[in-house]
């Protein structure tokens, strides 16, 4: 049994319902949960991996996925039984969620260009000494 979460990029017009409809159309035995960030899918390892590949092919850069350790609705993680508040791990997801629109755009446009980064050199000591002498 494996659980995977699918997070939809903020800028995408894709909705969790569209993804669910697509998964249902595949006709696989899966447990699916609709969430605020996307969906969670649970099922046999092979089926989940197969569905992940198909979702990636279909929705490309609009959707991102990761393996989730806890099953759907697990009492140790689910907010419903923990008295509210964000579940542990959600803060990390929020941080990454902010970057998804930019990653999605780059992946969709296929722009893979590296920048020539030059390390900034520290200011020369002589220049600093000269500046200090002039101003002090």
């Amino acid at each position: 049994m494996k659980t995977r979460m699918f997070v939809i990029a903020d800028t995408s017009s894709l909705t969790p319902q569209t993804v669910i409809n697509y998964i249902v159309s595949l006709g696989k035995a899966l447990n699916i949960k609709d969430t605020c960030y996307g969906i969670m899918v649970e099922g046999d390892d092979d089926i989940v991996e197969n569905v992940t590949i198909k979702i990636r092919e279909k929705f490309d850069g609009d959707i991102f996925s990761k393996h989730r350790a806890y099953p759907i609705g697990d009492e140790r993680r689910c907010r419903a039984t923990r008295g509210g508040g964000a579940r542990p791990g959600y803060y990390f997801l929020i941080e990454e969620y902010k970057l998804l629109p930019q990653i999605s755009k780059v992946l969709k446009e296929g722009r893979f260009k590296t920048l020539d980064k030059k390390k900034k050199k520290p200011v020369d000591v002589d220049i600093l000494k000269k500046a200090i002498k002039e101003k002090v």
């Binding site: 697990d74 990390f92 990454e96 930019q102 722009r111």
Partner: protein, 144 residues
């Protein structure tokens, strides 16, 4: 190839590694093995004193047990790694919230393993994101 990612629970890195045709070694794999075990000795994460002993393989005895417990999760992934991607300055790995000592030791262990490693900075704008993805893509394609 099996790629260790740092931070080990990063969704972006997991997704990119899978997209470019490799297997990410993510934290969920180790936690999954523990939390879905029929024997629940120490909920919620099921990290027991045995794990802390396992952590001794990766850190000295005087290292706090919390760090060793975490390394018991990261360590087996590092052992399996055939390559690694390290992203520095990840906002969520800042300070004690993410256990800075464990993070330092994790990076040290990867570097000690001497596997092909890509070290990047966390991107902050679109140009840097483009560079970030391009470097990961080139690195992963070069491994094949």
């Amino acid at each position: 190839m099996k790629i260790f990612i740092y931070p080990p629970n990063s969704m972006i890195l997991q997704d990119l590694v899978e997209r470019f045709g490799h297997t990410p070694l993510a934290l969920a794999k180790e936690i999954d093995r523990r939390v879905n075990d029929p024997e629940l000795d120490s909920p919620p994460m099921n990290i027991t004193e045995i794990d802390v002993k396992v952590g001794l393989k990766y850190a000295a005895i005087e290292v706090p047990s919390g760090v060793r417990g975490r390394l018991a999760l990261f360590g087996p992934l590092i052992d399996e790694a055939e390559a690694a991607i390290i992203v520095n300055d990840f906002p969520s790995t800042f300070g004690c919230m993410a256990c800075a000592r464990t993070n330092e030791l994790t990076i040290y262990l990867i570097k000690q393993k001497k596997v092909p490693t890509l070290e990047l900075e966390y991107p902050t704008n679109e140009e840097e994101v483009e560079d970030f993805i391009a470097r990961i893509k080139n690195f992963l394609e070069g491994l094949k």
